[in-house]
Symmetry: D2
Subunit: 431 residues, 4 copies
């Protein structure tokens, strides 16, 4: 959950839809759609402190609209349930105290049915707010923020569910998957970028979070990026060659963590290294698919083993601006990274910049020069997390298309790997 710089941007994605009301309705419907395959029991569980129950996601995204739009924006609005501020505030200290994060899975009540009623209550009043005359740009920006916020949680619902299902020895499937053919990987090519004085950060013509601002100059040495993501097959070589047991390949903290956790392969890979758990249940490990569910520590170790490194976020963004952002996103419905198309040799441009897996960069998540968090509680959306985390770029197979942009900065702790996370190699070159 992160916040935007209130902005008067007018060309952002939502307004390319016929109206904000339509955008609101589409995003909210998308959330409900994602819940369709679930049993009531599936909404309740929190399989680790990093994850949240689906029920909580449904309520928290709704609370966000109630708290930041309806309460300040509709004079006659009556809150659905006064206790929800405590139950469904995620981390907004300015709003007030809240239920401990690690105990979200202990709440059997309110029931799913009650939360669905909560959503409907808020939806009704939000449409009233949206349809009201005299809407201003600041209000629109906040609604756009709320929709982006809900889209983030759509992705989290899927990754949290995947984690919970993987913890169940029955390995239930979220839904049946399309048959996956085992492909052969596209050759890895290197794409050259000259560097120099570049600009990164959000441009004025699109919605963004406050952490993507200000747009600013950075100086880059020349560099190269791999034409596609690292694959399962490549990562398997690392595993088989003893990569997890070779400290010289790892950051010291990474090796210590991997040892303490007993890591010997990516999350969700089977012990015998020939299958993996997906949202469609257990399936064969396809060597051509991008490797997924690796931590920063593992991504960094792999890159060192491969004689390369991870890109900085500035390198990534400068390159991404040159290429179209399109790929295997939520709308593709695959919910699993897919192999890069085999035509790469013919069209040597880089692939998979968008979708499939979030790409670990080597950049610690920090403030851009001149960064100013949004005012009020929404200033907590991004800024207070700018330590100990690493930036990821590019979106995943669980990211809605309209949620992405080249300047988008995702961030996670270096040991986390339950998101759809993978990597693209980079290397420095002589100028």
């Amino acid at each position: 959950v992160r916040n935007t710089q209130p902005t008067s941007a007018t060309q952002s994605w939502t307004t390319t839809m016929s109206s904000l009301g339509t955008a609101y309705a589409r995003v909210r419907a998308q959330t409900r759609e994602l819940c369709r395959p679930l049993a009531v029991e599936d909404y309740v569980v929190q399989s680790m402190p990093d994850a949240s129950p689906v029920k909580w996601h449904l309520a928290h995204t709704t609370w966000f609209f109630e708290q930041f739009l309806l309460k300040p924006g509709l004079a006659d609005y009556r809150v659905f349930d006064a206790s929800y501020d405590y139950l469904f505030n995620s981390y907004y200290d300015a709003v007030g105290p809240r239920h401990p994060r690690a105990e979200r899975g202990l709440l059997t009540r309110p029931t799913v049915e009650e939360i669905v009623a909560y959503r409907e209550h808020v939806d009704e009043h939000m449409q009233r707010l949206i349809n009201r005359a005299g809407r201003d740009a600041q209000l629109d920006a906040r609604i756009e923020l709320g929709l982006n916020h809900e889209q983030q949680h759509q992705e989290l619902m899927l990754t949290d569910l995947k984690h919970a299902f993987a913890a169940n020895p029955l390995r239930p499937a979220y839904r049946a998957g399309a048959p996956r053919g085992l492909g052969s990987p596209t050759p890895l090519l290197w794409q050259h970028y000259p560097g120099g004085l570049q600009e990164i950060g959000a441009t004025a013509d699109e919605f963004c979070y406050d952490n993507e601002l200000p747009r600013h100059r950075v100086y880059l040495e020349p560099y190269e990026l791999a034409s596609r993501l690292v694959t399962n097959g490549e990562f398997l070589e690392f595993v088989r060659s003893g990569g997890y047991a070779t400290p010289s390949l790892w950051l010291a903290d990474g090796f210590a963590h991997a040892q303490a956790q007993g890591w010997s392969r990516p999350l969700y890979w089977s012990t015998d290294l020939d299958a993996l758990f997906t949202l469609a249940g257990m399936g064969a490990l396809d060597p051509a698919e991008p490797v997924c569910h690796v931590s920063y520590y593992e991504a960094d170790a792999y890159a060192r083993w491969a004689g390369a490194r991870l890109p900085t976020e500035a390198e990534w963004e400068s390159a991404a601006r040159l290429h179209a952002l399109d790929g295997n996103l939520l709308e593709s419905g695959v919910l699993q990274p897919v192999a890069a198309p085999g035509t790469a040799a013919l069209e040597p441009g880089p692939q998979q910049f968008s979708g499939d897996v979030w790409e670990w960069t080597s950049s610690a998540y920090s403030a851009y020069p001149g960064y100013r968090p949004a005012a009020g509680a929404l200033g907590e959306y991004n800024g207070k997390f700018m330590v100990n985390q690493i930036v990821l770029r590019g979106g995943s197979c669980a990211t809605p298309r309209s949620h992405l942009r080249a300047s988008y900065r995702n961030f996670f702790y270096p040991q986390q790997r339950w998101q759809f996370m993978g990597l693209r190699l980079a290397r420095s070159v002589a100028g």
Copy 2:
């Protein structure tokens, strides 16, 4: 879950019913009845490692019959689902590996509906087994054990639910309670017992677990027991006089534990000491009701503060044999301890020996001289827990009547307090 010495006892409680089939049906129906007030979400949650989800209790008690009766007893029996051995085995190493106890709350599947189907499948075959010609005494004893086992879990379902509901800031009620009048406590009188060479342990004429055998002699010094349980009002005096902050009143481990946990009052009491959480939601703290949800450490400290001590289990049992076992048990439907009747002054015999709260004794849970665990996996029911735990006696307001007997030994760790646990004072006297 604990096991019995297979016995040919013929006067046990089940056979006082018209048939074993009736007993089976009644116990299983009782379990379903206890679930009636629940939402689907309420079945899923495990609020601490000591507790289990209701769903798990429903499946585990059913698995017990499948594993120990149907598999060995019905040649043509087909298991309902082969994975349930792994999911619903509690702690029987001889049966095989099992899902980690602390992760029972992570399982959203099988759903409640699937588990209800499992119960029906097993019930059908159990009735077939029971109705079969040529039943033998050993088989009957095992069925009786399975029913006692399920009764234990009926109590655990209620205490685990209470714990989960108490962890919810909404403080949901399991069901509405009868109005509770605030009574005035019955005076505490002392009942004298001469001691000497006594016999304790189960007698031949009733069902028992293996840990109640062999019946054997113990030598007791003369002693006295309080005529009733310690009340909320009395315990409140201990709290208000600084009992929780006075190390000289406590066992060293107890004080350290209480400090580390920040204990300052019994579990479920409100901070301001005038209300408590019950299965009917928050209610006034009645000074006449027995104090409940105190650990052994707190019970021991209170007794020392009161210039008394806890009884040994031999003292308790010798006394209990002299008095009728009747009281506020599950069948009363109160699900909360109630004040001792005010007629105590007229009939000076001891009260509340049975029901209301399990009474902490001062006896570590250990083997009786000559103890032999049952053969096979069922030998794990009791014997392997004979260290670090303390014996409690007398049943509680959540214990089924037919489950109790004077020789019954319950046991918990000295720091546990989520069961309906309280205490009765004892003291030594000059011979």
Copy 3:
């Protein structure tokens, strides 16, 4: 550190010496003597929270005399250093706050030299107190208590040093040991005891701690005890037959603890099972020596594997009263258990009742009927530890001879094994 019932006993061991002053001088000199092989560095370290630095033992035993004898007993006594009450109080809440136990090893100051000066200061004043006219029996009893207390710490100094040296990859020797021949074990015979109504507890003619009182009756079924301790060779069979990986042999808590700690053999045994660490450094594992440094959990599992059990403390004491208490104690200077003499076949009485290793009983440490702790702070010596611990009997190769008696109750937690701890088998027999 535990406390005595102040008593006017006049035949206790100290008064069999020419005088209390001589006893005091002998015990204090013994402590210094035990330190002779040490480097200054060896006094400082605390290798785990259960252990204490030698420096701390030296100061704490001295503080005990200062606190409980000199301050109340000598009107003109000036404390050596006012800060020592805080630094060297072990666990006497009635005396005041104290340095956290787990941080005893962080104190580089006071230096060893300063603590030696402290000892000399207190010795000088203690001799003045002892030589004073008008000494009373209560004072004498307290001095005796102080000396017994110091003797307990002599044993702890050795076991704590052993633990610290074992944590050092250099495996330093406390001092050179006598050459140890590898013997052949004496056959194990069973000694019968008829049981019945017995008396246990301290008799009036000797010094005792308060936890050995009151002497009282217990009823015992007939039983048998092994004629000697369990040996390394026997325990090795248990290890080699997979004992540590067989849950059915263990108490549930014991197996869980052993697994969590990765235990696969007694403490101080080498991985290849043919050597062990002693106070004389690494040495061959002698199959005839008593097994040592096993926890209660391991002792209990071994006994079950051997088709036997551990004795209760009442069984042990009733038997021990019939036999002379003599054996391989501190005075033998071996500091390691030794094989039972091979003459057992000729003289079939039980051996090794005293010395070599403390013998785990099956009895939880608890109050004798009518137990009353000593008054004041010294009441904390024993009583507040009466939960979660198990009684051991018989003394070890590090126990001073004059410190032992048949009624002596040592106690440790079931998972502890850094003391000289072993076991003797028992079994029940038909009456």
Copy 4:
């Protein structure tokens, strides 16, 4: 311990001494000199896993020369003790396994005397190596690295000792301090820097670690730096205004950590906020002295409270290059930060860029573009720590003068505060 890029630099500090032999002798003598005030006991203790015993520092720095110079460089060299590789290797996986870091304080042996002998042995052979004909530049660079390494440990010896002494309720002084007058703070002025394309990193004319290379361009927006460090008096205002209890001032991880640890003031400040612990014992809190022993989290929160921010390391270094590096370093002998000279108003240049306290920057510790770790085991000196840590700049009152340079990058975890750590404010300005 970190490593250098082997370099043929010829103007580095050591060669400004008459010879490398002299430099070696001076640095090694400095280490001994720092130990002069210690008792033997003071060498042994490790007060937390982050710290090491003085004895270990003495041995490890010596082992560094033995391992990386004598073994490869002197064909006839015989190691002093083969076990020292295991005991005194810090973290060089390429060298081999090692004693666990958190257990360094358990080693009473080798004794201090033995380690002094080890140092003399190595010194003798190092002089032989240095005096040998045919020395090459690579060898010289390694010796220089070893000396820098030892200088780092000189600072650590002091900070680790301070931590251990602070854990002792006696609060011993390392040595008497000069009388400290309570000054009045110099006014804080803002110094403007225009930014633009700048170069940072080590220049070719001085010794450096590999993490200071390559020298490279960075683009900076215009910025301002405070003319002096933040003082105790200023930080006290933050404390008194409730800064530690105001989450909006903190990074989320920082607030959580501070709450979990119960932080309410800098390390070593007294509860009543008017005294602090120094290497000269407890002393008055001087409001004019730089605040010291604050974590990154506290420094960041203070800066936000003050309406400013921390500088990036590039901002700091660009500015530092413009000013002389001189100040209150180890050689001043004060071992405590001192107030900025009061003449600031007259000479408005920035003060305290060097010495007093290491200054937290806002930069995560990471690789410079094109960074290449040194070859072999020495490549582990720096590179493998490039995650989760924050860069500090400028040296402290415990840093040797010859050890510092403008490009020097120190790094610690954001929660650490036992080093001499403080902060200087920065702010962004409109271009």
